[in-house]
Symmetry: C2
Subunit: 326 residues, 2 copies
């Protein structure tokens, strides 16, 4: 696929490729949660996806879309977290080797997990080394295909399969017109879902959700041009901290999304505790911001759908969220 | 339905009644968990069912099976926990009033939740009052229908819909011959799944799992006659502590199940921590014993399916499990 916006047919192709491999995650609902917040709240539980986040969908589709020769040569990705594990697993399942370039200060569990999924992990020092230079050298030496985390049409199409499922599941649940709140970093998941909903459920409105201080997408949508965050770190929502929306994702977001929503880190912790009590799922902070927006940033009683994008959280942080808010 | 063992057709009727109401819970799998334990492990995540446990399935089917006149008169149940919430929600959804008789020392959250789901909660003192006498009096006065927790054919048929889903999902996952380990109290879930698998997937063998000291079903299967536990309390696995298998469930279990498996409370806590880390689901101790058996009580590398029956656990106990084992 050329470097252009994927079509709904590309998302349907991705769904066919993922069938029997990716989990069809449930659209959860808890009557007591609805009663407490005065509206029906549905949660698309992508924390239950293989490797603990939606990232496996896009990675599997992108690796499957390569030619046999490309897969034989192997793939490469940059990531300190969820994309790393998605690419590693997808590559292993499809018989490709994978190289993942990770910062040496990434959480050791994520490094261990990525290696356990069969990837060759190359660590670099954020202070003294240039990861792009390392990546380019390895790619050139070995002919590796780069799997970008969001600005890749096949990745977007893979993430968009989440939107196909939401369209079907919301019809079964009798949802008629609702905002679909989506945890948003670079916009791969949000833009994929946006394309799927525009084609299949135009009564559902995708809206990106971001943490305070990292609201580049919200500001980009409001101004119509790509905005950048002043800081690169400093939120517990590490999974969705990216400097700016992608050149491929932003036009899709601008064409289809309602206004962004911004929530605090504390909102995310409270949403994690409520997801534990009411939904019995484990969310990481970055995977909980959409639920936080559904719970704490709504003025009316209309149905709302929140996409819970991931659950790769360390136990001490999760225990802290429960201690504070459960 | 008369008080006899349900047939596969009764389970299919239940599935039609539950469609669009009960969650079709996923059969989860985590490649890193498989790698760590040397076998494929699949988890049927009934903690994601409405009200946080499988109990909603049987309750909804039993209330739906009543005549209009019976529903108009209302239903009654005895329970301190998951069955209470399942009956309360099913009754409310189907327009019936419900009375739930609960011990006054039941966890206050469970009393609060049951009331919030619309039930009239009648508390009794375990030391000085006879709950059966209270129940009989209320039933006679108001013409209420008693919904027993497991020795009721419609309840068993409702729980059996879990087995229909396992049969379909295991085929899609390419599982060919496996033990299906099931958290077992009175045997409603286990017997329902057993009937479904015997009809749909005879290569899958249901096996009950119980906590140490409360292994009445395991001993009943081994001896061929109904055995009773010496104690009535003293395990953290409160959801599956029942004195003995039911008169309706035991013959079904004896006809279809492989030997029982017994695990320790500590095994259950370890399984809760692993479910947090690898599967991103919240399990209560009684809902984790089947996963514990799949992880810690297997000698070979064959595929195994564990039914995770519920997730209604208080935050302090969950935090303790994480602190100890995550």
């Amino acid at each position: 696929m050329a470097d252009t916006s994927p079509l709904i047919s590309d998302i349907e192709t991705a769904a066919a490729r993922l069938k029997g491999h990716a989990e069809r995650t449930p659209l959860l609902n808890a009557p007591l949660l609805d009663a407490e917040f005065g509206r029906r709240i549905f949660v698309k539980a992508e924390c239950l996806q293989k490797t603990g986040s939606f990232k496996y969908r896009g990675a599997r589709n992108a690796v499957a879309a390569l030619s046999d020769a490309q897969r034989a040569a192997g793939v490469i990705a940059f990531s300190s977290g969820n994309h790393a594990q998605g690419v590693a697993l997808a590559a292993r399942e499809l018989g490709a080797t994978s190289v993942i370039i990770m910062p040496s200060d990434a959480p050791s569990l994520k490094i261990v997990n990525t290696r356990a999924l069969g990837a060759e992990v190359v660590l670099y020092d954020r202070e003294t080394e240039d990861r792009d230079e390392i990546g380019e050298r390895l790619s050139a030496e070995r002919g590796l295909s780069l799997i970008k985390p969001f600005d890749n049409p096949n990745v977007i199409a893979g993430q968009g399969t989440t939107g196909l499922e939401i369209a079907e599941q919301s019809r079964l649940a009798g949802i008629d017109g609702a905002d679909v709140l989506i945890c948003c970093g670079g916009g791969g998941l949000t833009s994929g879902i946006a394309i799927a909903l525009a084609a299949k459920s135009p009564d559902l409105t995708p809206r990106p959700v971001e943490p305070e201080g990292f609201d580049d997408v919200t500001r980009s949508l409001a101004t119509g041009t790509i905005q950048t965050n002043p800081r690169r770190s400093g939120s517990i929502c590490d999974a969705i901290i990216t400097p700016s929306p992608g050149h491929l994702t932003f036009p899709i977001l601008a064409a289809h999304c309602g206004p962004g929503v911004v929530v605090s880190d504390d909102d995310a912790l409270r949403a994690m505790a409520i997801a534990f009590t009411r939904l019995k799922i484990v969310l990481e902070p970055g995977g909980a911001v959409a639920l936080a927006a559904a719970l704490f940033h709504r003025a009316d009683s209309r149905d709302v759908i929140a996409v819970a994008s991931g659950g790769n959280v360390d136990a001490p942080l999760f225990r802290m969220a429960l201690e504070k808010y459960a």
